[in-house]
C-alpha cells in the first residue's frame, strides 16, 4: 500500500501556498505510507540556456565546493540551494554537460531530477518528519506530486522512494506492485536505460523514459504501458505543465480526482483532497481503469 497525492493550481494566486497544501495532503496519507515520503515540485522554470537539477547524498557534503568547481569546469554561472539532504543546482549550461560532469567528477551524488522546473525531494521516515525536514510550507510552485510509501517489493531507502525521474521535467509515483519488473528491467538495461535499484516502480519510470526517448508522446507511452506492464498500479506522472494519471485495467488500487475553479487534485483517497480549500464544493470523480487522464496549461 502507498499513498499518492497530486495538485495542479489553476489559480496563480495560490502558488505561494502550494507547499503547504501539498504537506497537508501528504500527512493525511501517512497511514498508507509511513516508510518514506517524497515530492516533485514544479516552479520557477529556468531559461532554455540553463538547467535545473536536484542532487542527493546521505552524507554531509561540501556543497559550496561543488558549486565553485562546477562553475569553473563548465564555465557557467551556478546557483545552489541546499534543502536538507538535497541540493537544487541551477547552471547556465547544457543539461547533458552538467549531468556528464556530475557522473564523472561526483559519482557519489545521485541526480534526483533534471529539467527546467522540476525539483524532487524524498527521504525515509514519516511524512510529517519529511514535511518539517524539507520545510514544505515554504515551497511555492505551480503543481506538485507527492508519495507516501509502504514498501512491499524492495528495501526502505531514500533511493527506493518515490518520485522517480523519468526524463527531463518528468517523474512518476506509483501505488501498487508490478509482477514483470525483473524481465522488463533487463530489457530496459539492454536498451541503455539507467536503472539503479531493484525497485519495481523505478522500472515503470525507466519504461516511460525509454518510450519517450523513442519518440512516443506521454499519452502514447502510457497507452503502451497498459500492454507491457503487468501488475497493479495507479500512476501519477508529473510533467512540466501538469500531471497525468493512469490506473491498470483491474483498478484495485484506489484513486480519486477533484476539480474546482482554483485547482485540480488527485489522490489515493478523498481524505487527502478534503484538506484543500473548497474541497466540499469540488467536482469529484474516480478515474476509470485503463484510461489516461492529463492536465496541463
Amino acid at each position: 500500500m502507498c499513498g499518492i497525492v497530486g495538485i495542479y493550481l489553476k489559480n496563480e494566486d495560490l502558488r505561494p501556498e502550494l507547499g503547504g497544501l501539498l504537506a497537508a495532503m501528504l500527512v493525511e496519507m501517512s497511514d498508507r505510507g509511513p516508510d518514506s515520503a517524497g515530492i516533485a515540485l514544479y516552479r520557477d522554470p529556468v531559461p532554455d540556456s540553463s538547467c535545473k537539477l536536484t542532487l542527493h547524498t546521505a552524507d554531509h557534503y561540501e556543497w559550496d565546493d561543488l558549486r565553485t568547481e562546477m562553475a569553473a569546469h563548465l564555465g557557467a554561472a551556478v546557483k545552489l540551494d541546499v534543502h536538507a539532504s538535497h541540493a537544487v543546482v541551477i547552471a547556465s549550461a547544457d543539461v547533458t554537460s552538467v549531468q556528464d560532469w556530475l557522473r564523472t567528477e561526483r559519482p557519489e551524488l545521485r541526480i534526483m531530477s533534471a529539467g527546467s522546473a522540476i525539483e524532487i525531494y524524498k527521504e525515509k521516515g514519516l511524512p510529517r518528519e519529511f514535511v518539517k525536514q524539507f520545510k514544505l510550507h515554504e515551497l511555492n510552485g505551480s503543481h506538485a506530486l507527492g508519495h507516501t510509501r509502504m514498501a512491499t517489493e524492495s528495501a526502505v531507502t531514500t533511493e527506493h522512494s518515490h518520485p522517480f525521474s523519468t526524463g527531463m521535467d518528468l517523474c512518476l509515483v506509483h501505488n501498487g506492485s508490478l509482477s514483470n519488473h525483473n524481465r522488463l528491467r533487463r530489457t530496459l538495461r539492454d536498451e541503455g536505460v539507467d536503472i539503479q535499484t531493484d525497485n519495481d516502480s523505478e522500472v515503470a519510470a525507466g519504461y516511460l523514459m525509454w518510450r519517450l526517448r523513442e519518440g512516443d508522446t506521454l499519452e502514447a507511452a502510457l497507452d503502451r504501458a497498459l500492454r507491457d506492464l503487468d501488475g497493479f498500479y495507479t500512476f501519477a506522472i508529473g510533467t512540466k505543465d501538469g500531471f497525468a494519471v493512469l490506473r491498470d485495467p483491474i483498478a484495485c488500487k484506489p484513486a480519486v480526482m477533484a476539480e474546482t475553479d482554483d485547482w485540480v487534485a488527485m489522490s489515493s483517497e478523498f481524505r487527502a483532497i478534503a484538506q484543500l480549500p473548497g474541497a466540499d464544493a469540488a467536482t469529484i470523480w474516480e478515474p476509470r481503469p485503463a484510461t489516461v487522464y492529463t492536465w496541463g496549461h
Binding site: A251, P254, F270, R271, D280, E286, P289
Partner: protein, 223 residues
Amino acid sequence: MTVFDLNTDSVRNLNQQLHESPAASTAITNPCGRHCIACGIDADVDVSIDGHVGYYCAGMNKQANVTITGNAGPGVAENIMSGSVRIEGNASQYAGASGHGGTLIIHGDASARCGISMKGVDIVVAGDVGHMAAFMAQKGRLVVCGDAGDSLGDSLYEAYLYVRGKAGALGADCVEKEMTADHVRDLAQLLESAGIDADAGAFRRYGSARKLYNFNVDHADDY
C-alpha cells in the same frame, strides 16, 4: 437528534455510541473522507452523514437506515445484513460486497466490483456500474439503471441482475434471461421501495447459465 462533528470528535467515539446507546436519529458532520464511519450498527435508527466518506462506511449494517449525502469510498455497506444504506453521490469499488440482506441504494454511479460475492442484499444503482459487478454473486438483486461494465456477473450463482442500459461483455457463465411479468412486478416493487423512478419494463435480466456448477467430464483434458 444527536449531532456528531467528526472534526471535533473521533470516529471511534461515534461508533461506540452507535453501538452502545444509539439515538433514534444521529447526524454526522465533517466526515472528510474518514474511514469506517457508522460501522457495525445493530439498531433500528436513522443516521445521516453530511459529506463524503472514505473506506468501509456503514459496514456490517443491521437494521439501521444510513444516508450519505456525498460520495462513498471503497467497501461501502460491506457485509450489510439488513436495514438500508443510501448514497446520494457515487460509490467507489466493491460497494455492498458480500452483503447478506437489506438494501443499498446508490443515486450516482458505482465503480468496479459492485456487489461482489453478494449473498442476499438488494443493490439499486441509479447510474452506471464498473467492471466485474456481481462477481460470484450468490443471492439477492443488483439493479443498474445505467450501463454495466465488462464481465458482469462473472462466475455467478443465483442472484438476479437487472440492467436498463448497455451491459458490457458478460462474465463467465453469465447469460441474458427472459424478463417475465413476474420479474417486472418484482423489480417495480424494489425500485419503488428504493425510491428510484425507473420503468421496470425497460430492464433486461441476466443470470447464471449454471454451467460452472458441476465438473464437466468432457473438459477433463483441458486441465
